[in-house]
């Protein structure tokens, strides 16, 4: 098999045995990017020279058997809202088109310390606001399974790049499903960790109480490997959970026998496309066949999750994005006769329509006279949803649902209908509101040949059992080896 098609854990063995070098691997990926990314459009920046230099250093470490970890020499790509020292970090926004951070995000520093070359920065919805990567100010990213379809979003670049073999693995960010939904739509694995498991330092904030960085990979084992590399307490992030992290790989091969898996009835009904529902039902059958007990459960308040999310996420965003005012860095409008004009025109010209829509929604929700009716009420709903999950997890080890209600849709299909677009996140948002970990794994292909994703959710900090179930399902169902039928130019 071609190198680009292999998961990290397979490449690890080849690197350790000296069958390939990190430089060879990195070069082959750069060639792959050149071959496919013209059609896919997943990258905003490729760090050719830097990545090769980092690969050389990794090869030295491997040769000298010095500090060789699971990711030493394995190239990783990053969603472009994760800050990289010396490499532009744009959030796919005109506002930050020329922003070069003077610091690495904590996750980037950890990857570099472990000797993983950073291959490049990947496209996304502007400031992670969108579910199709269509709100990027710079380019469209196409779904490798069908170039007429969106890759999902907001981590559409990472999902498409992993699916197309344009990187080994990638980091995305997930505020309401931004890792899991594009992973589902592109047929890869995408995982959102427990809130606070991974440092947010250096992740350009969308909604601080919901954002988490997580792995997007070719299979479940890679996701556990990449999460192990980035998860740690970080003194630079006050919301980072203190103490050591669990061994995410320990239970990968234990199977699902004896696990009780809940099927939330509210998340399989209305709005879920029939073929998605069928694929999920089939997956449930596979899990039962493996020895899991599947039970229906109820999460009565998840029907309000999307509404609560819309208020909380936009409220936080309206404040988080205030700093883009043209004064210190980033885009500044030429219409700067006085400071108010400069603020207004900078923000009017620097942000795209969806970002502006969400800033306005959030500003409204926090305004005097509306705070109690919107923001405070949304916080209360969030608490109720969290309790629904706690109650469900008294009975079940895990919950399983579809990741996205539909398969990948066409460009423009939902771009003019924000509410329809927001519905894409309906099934992923609850995990963010509850702060619990969730993973999407491929569970089938639609009649049109588009991937379908299965979502597992687990209690906070129960990543080991989440990976365990996902790995067991993946091994039994065989969808992990599924690759898009990409024509290479």
């Amino acid at each position: 098999m071609e190198l680009y098609a292999l998961p990290a854990h397979a490449l690890r063995q080849m690197l350790d045995r000296g069958e390939i070098s990190s430089v060879e691997l990195t070069k082959s990926l750069i060639e792959r990017i050149e071959a496919v990314d013209g059609a896919i459009g997943s990258y905003l920046a490729i760090r050719v020279e830097e990545a090769l230099k980092e690969a050389e250093e990794a090869d030295r470490r491997i040769r000298e058997q010095r500090d060789v970890g699971p990711l030493t020499g394995i190239p990783v790509s990053l969603k472009d809202n994760i800050c990289t020292e010396g490499t532009r970090t744009t959030c796919a926004s005109r506002m930050l088109e020329n922003f070069v951070p003077p610091y690495d995000a904590t996750v980037v520093a950890r990857l570099k310390a472990q000797g993983a070359p950073i291959l490049g920065k990947l496209n996304m919805d502007e400031f992670a606001m969108g579910s199709s990567t269509e709100t990027s100010a710079f380019k469209l990213t196409r779904n490798p399974w069908n170039l007429e379809r969106v890759p999902g979003g907001s981590s559409g670049g990472p999902a498409a790049a992993v699916a197309a073999g344009a990187t080994v693995m990638a980091l995305g960010s997930d505020t309401g499903g931004s890792i899991r939904q594009p992973a589902a739509l592109c047929g890869v694995v995408g995982m959102k960790p427990t809130y606070g498991l991974v440092s947010r330092f250096g992740l350009v904030a969308f909604a601080s109480s919901l954002d988490q960085i997580g792995p997007m990979t070719k299979d479940v084992k890679d996701a556990a490997l990449l999460l192990s590399a980035i998860a740690a307490h970080d003194p630079l992030d006050s919301t980072s959970i203190p103490g050591d992290r669990a061994d995410f790989l320990a239970e990968l091969d234990r199977g699902v026998e004896g696990l009780v898996i809940g099927l939330p009835v509210e998340m399989l009904g209305e709005g879920v496309a029939p073929e998605v529902r069928e694929a999920v039902n089939a997956a449930v059958g596979v899990l039962e066949g493996l020895g899991a007990r599947v039970e229906e459960v109820s999460l009565p308040h998840v029907r309000y999750a999307l509404a609560a999310y819309a208020v909380i996420a936009t409220a936080e965003a309206s404040s988080n994005l205030g700093r883009f005012d043209g004064v210190r860095y980033g885009f500044r409008s030429r219409e700067d006769a006085d400071v108010v004009t400069m603020f207004e025109t900078t923000r009017a010209q620097g942000f795209g329509a969806e970002v502006k829509r969400r800033i306005m929604l959030g500003t409204y929700a926090l305004s005097a006279g509306y705070y109690d009716a919107y923001y405070l009420k949304a916080l209360k709903v969030r608490t109720l949803i969290r309790r629904d999950f706690e109650k469900a997890f008294e009975r079940c080890h895990l919950l399983v649902t579809p990741t996205s209600p539909t398969v990948a849709f066409r460009f423009g299909e939902k771009a003019d209908n924000p509410v329809a677009m927001y519905q894409s996140d309906r099934l992923t948002v609850p995990a963010n509101l509850a702060g619990i970990p969730a993973i999407s794994v491929p569970c089938g292909v639609s009649q049109d040949g588009l991937p379908i994703g299965l979502q597992f959710m687990a209690p906070a900090l129960a990543e080991p059992v989440l990976f365990r179930a996902a790995a067991a399902y993946e091994a039994a169902a065989g969808w992990a080896s599924m690759r898009p039928p990409l024509e290479v130019k």
Binding site: N81, I82, C83, T89, C91, L96, F99, P101, P102, Y103, A105, R200, F201, G202, L203, V204, A205, A207, S208, S209, P235, L236, D237, S238, T239, A315, E316, S318, S319, G322, R323, F324, D325, V327, R328, Y329, D338, V339, V340, F343, T363, L366, S367, A368, Y371, Y375
Partner: protein, 481 residues
């Protein structure tokens, strides 16, 4: 005549080495934008982490002001756009401040007044803007120094318990003393580490409802505070006298012109859209932690004054004056330890030493004379080596030159003439030369003896021991002491 109602909002920078959310230095006076980092510049992706020392000092400030400390507190974002506010929000505290319900007592016109403290909360400083014109909209350019951005700050809000502009000033002096004692802030108004805004309204005596108020800003000294409020009393009185209502607004004090100018009306008040900062976790304090910090607080002015009265037998007035500055109180105590005689030391410190400090325009803690130096001087006076009056001159010389009292007395030959034989000759001379006053004394006119003592002092250039001169004169003129 109206009843004047004043409440104050005070900001004090905390005495931490580093900023509230990052490790940048808080040193005042560095070159612009040299004490900044991605965190205090609010660069995308950066996050705040609370400086524990700032929390400690804020709680200590609250304890020193008699506040209750909230066991559960949180940080909120105050959202507004301004170039010196790098995140477009200030991290502050809204509905759950660290400290609540305190009180400060101070003296005004011989009366003890009590002002309730509504709250003390912790927040961050913004940067500092310098405009080429009068204000940001009327300037060709504005410059921003972000060194100050992220310096920890407490906001202290009083209840509207002050009843005159003078009271407002006296309260601020007391508040400053308390904060200095507690060691939480250096309270330098000229460097902006202590700032005050005042809310003032008037109402007819007997009325209980509060009327529309003005919020007065840009008060850069205690004197400006009092003057601005006096101006507001006149302005608002005239409006009420004319049967009109005061418009609620925010006003800017112009110190040169001595007037307040309206900046914005109530209708223009900004909506700050406060909400809990999701980047920070709530502050949960244990009872033990609060008690530890309470025990670490030094003796505060009121406690110290009470102790001075009981321990040293000082009058209440002396105790209050001496404790109005920690440096002065410490100086007093150290001098008493060496010399004894607390009341003598108190008089010298309150009057003579304080005068030199005032004349030099310095703070008491910059005094170039040590308590041991003063004790040495008082010892010379006590032994009769020099007179009280010469002592005052010597003190001034000590202040100027830094030399010891003994050296100055020796160098300038200021020892009193205590030699009975030498003095007797001079006394005889004065008696001979002043028959009139001598007769007066013999006739029982006590006052005249002072004149004769003065003559002796004049002839000896102040070096005669006045007590001995007095005794000698009495001996010779009335045959007794």
């Amino acid at each position: 005549m109206y009843e004047v109602i004043i409440g104050l909002e005070i900001h004090a920078e905390l005495l931490t080495d580093s900023k509230i959310w990052c490790g940048c230095s808080t040193r005042f006076g560095a070159d612009a934008n040299t004490q900044v980092c991605p965190i205090c510049l609010g660069l995308p992706g950066t996050l705040p982490v609370l400086n524990e020392r700032a929390l400690e000092l804020a709680v200590k400030a609250g304890l020193a002001l008699g506040c209750e400390i909230n066991r559960f507190s949180k940080f909120d974002r105050k959202n507004y756009f301004y170039p010196d506010l790098p995140k477009a929000y200030q991290i502050s505290q809204y509905d759950l401040p660290l400290c609540r319900n305190g009180a400060v007592e101070f003296e005004a016109n011989g009366e003890i007044r009590r002002v309730r403290i509504n709250r003390v909360h912790l927040e961050e400083e913004a940067g500092k803007s310098v405009h080429s014109g009068d204000n940001i909209m009327g300037s060709e350019y504005s410059l921003i120094d972000y060194n100050r951005g992220g310096v920890p700050l407490i906001e202290i809000v009083t209840e509207p318990d002050l009843r005159s502009p003078e009271e407002a000033r006296l309260f601020m002096e007391k508040l400053r003393t308390i904060l200095l004692y507690a060691g939480v802030s250096d309270c330098r108004m000229e460097e902006g580490s202590l700032r005050v805004d005042a809310n003032i309204s008037l109402r007819p005596f007997g009325e209980t409802e509060l009327r529309e108020r003005a919020e007065v800003k840009n008060l850069n000294s205690f004197r400006a505070l009092q003057r601005a409020l006096e101006y507001e009393v006149r302005r608002q009185s005239a409006i009420l006298d004319a049967g009109q209502r005061v418009e609620q607004d925010t006003r800017h004090w112009n110190d040169q012109k001595g007037v307040t100018i309206s900046m914005r009306s109530k209708e223009d008040a900004e909506d700050y859209r406060y909400f809990p900062d999701p980047d920070l976790v709530p502050v949960v304090l244990t009872e033990e932690q609060i008690e530890t910090w309470r025990r670490e607080l030094p003796e505060l002015p009121d406690q110290k004054a009470a102790r001075f009265i009981s321990q040293y037998g000082l009058p209440a007035y002396d105790a209050r004056v001496l404790t109005s500055s920690k440096a002065m109180a410490d100086f007093f105590e150290a001098a008493v330890e060496r010399f004894g005689e607390p009341k003598t030391v108190s008089n010298w410190v309150m009057v003579e030493v304080q005068r030199l400090v005032n004349e030099a325009g310095i703070e008491f803690d910059a005094l170039p004379i040590g308590p041991g130096d003063l004790a040495g001087l008082l010892e010379l006076v006590k032994r009769g080596t020099i007179s009280n009056n010469v002592g005052k001159e010597v003190l001034e010389e000590m202040f100027k030159t830094g030399k010891s009292a003994a050296d100055i007395v020796k160098e300038r030959g200021l020892e009193q003439i205590s030699d009975t034989g030498e003095l007797e000759a001079i006394v005889e001379q004065v008696i001979a030369e002043n028959p009139g006053p001598v007769q007066d004394v013999r006739d029982g006119k006590e006052k005249a003896i002072g004149f004769l003592v003065g003559q002796v002092m004049k002839l000896t250039k102040g070096k005669a021991n006045p007590k001995m001169v007095n005794e000698l004169l009495r001996q010779k003129l009335t045959g007794g002491a």
